[in-house]
Amino acid sequence: MIPPALYEIGLTHYLVLSAILFALGILAMVSRRNAIGVLIGIELVLNAANLNLVAFGRFTTAGLQGPVFAIFVIMLAAAEAAIALAILLNLFERTGSVSVDEADELKG
């Protein structure tokens, strides 16, 4: 028979899903050389964090505080994506590429 821990979906299941999503985001941030790929990794990490907040809100006494916090994170993610892409467009105009390896002008 299937053990109940497998089919009774609880907090741990959501936390494991979020951990996998987080690790995939970190992997994209480190391994992508295209700056847009790095941005995609950041979005994955933020989604993983949101998933944790909502899961804790549902399964503990935190209640609606989880979703409210997640709304602020989504808002910050939108602001961050807009600024990041504006910076990327500038970088592309200056250097003709969006490779994170080539954007090293500020290096001391």
Partner: protein
Amino acid sequence: MAEKIGKLNELLALYGPAILFYGVAALVIASAAYAVWAKKIDHSAFSLMACFTGVAAIYALLGSDFLAVTQVIVYVGGIMILIVFGVLLTDRLPVEFRQVSRETMVQGMFVAVPVLVALLWAVLGTRWPSLPGPLTAPAPEGTTGGIGKMLLTDYLFPFEFASVLLLVTLVGAARLARGGRK
């Protein structure tokens, strides 16, 4: 016959939520993995869209209806468009920049695998405080009203601060994107 259907219903009531969760979780993880490994950045962007939609479905499974809708509107409708525009406006790279090279992937694994192991160890090794008794069903009227009340009472300052931040972002992004063009 009726007995068989009754038994089927019983099985569905027992395993249904689990099947739904595992299906959506598989979609989320598969599309996120493809977004990480895809050779072309535009494939990666569209795979990310599937991942965001899957996360919205997970929010719905968690009973956060308002957040699920917000996720679809802001992520799938807003941030995805931004990323696709970014890809369209900058995609004149030589092929080797689009691809994930073996070397950087190994470096990434060196960071990501320990992070994953540490997180899983923490998640699986902790006894999380949880609601006493069985989980209550999500409220039939949804969470929107409650979230609205919280935003305008306990979280009023962050709420107003967020609007200022969004205004600054709007102006700043427009100014930055115009760049050196006079």
